[in-house]
Amino acid sequence: SAVISQKPSRDICQRGTSLTIQCQVDSQVTMMFWYRQQPGQSLTLIATANQGSEATYESGFVIDKFPISRPNLTFSTLTVSNLSPEDSSIYLCSVETSYEQYFGPGTRLTVT
């Protein structure tokens, strides 16, 4: 298994600003994933982040809006840029080990 922490756990941001979410894992992993969970909905993959390469974004998500960094095998950041109320969601990072994906506790973002 893997233990994942995220910072911040929640934030309230103003429209037009940005929020950077940090994800730290207690072991080295190749692939990290970023998901979004909009209120009352399921999880949607934003992008996959491999160390040393550009993140791979899913349809509907673009790098300008969701830039991702992956500087080493235990850490990643997701920035949500130019915030609008529609970005209010829970953002979760996850990692895979032995065919199991483990999730961080999530970052609850509210945009006012």
């Binding site: 399921s42 949607t44 993959l45 996959t48 065919y99 483990y102 999730f103």
Partner: protein
Amino acid sequence: AQSVAQPEDQVNVAEGNPLTVKCTYSVSGNPYLFWYVQYPNRGLQFLLKYITGDNLVKGSYGFEAEFNKSQTSFHLKKPSALVSDSALYFCAVRGGYNKLIFGAGTRLAVHP
């Protein structure tokens, strides 16, 4: 395209009764299937997975799931429900590049 369906938005069960949360999937090739649980204000917790082998998979907290290839189903079960099992349950299938495709989620309510 790979997809997961959870046909019930909510399942209501009396404490002590058996519970079933339904999931059907559509994939090409052999499916890798997962169940996750989300408690209020918490991240996703891994419950169990099916990769290969026995069709009955046992997981955490007394949950099990039955893989049925002919019916393309992976229903989650527990012989005796607890009030503390009340949560949001997600079925997921592994897609390309290790990403998870989630169902819409089923809210389980266990009544005393």
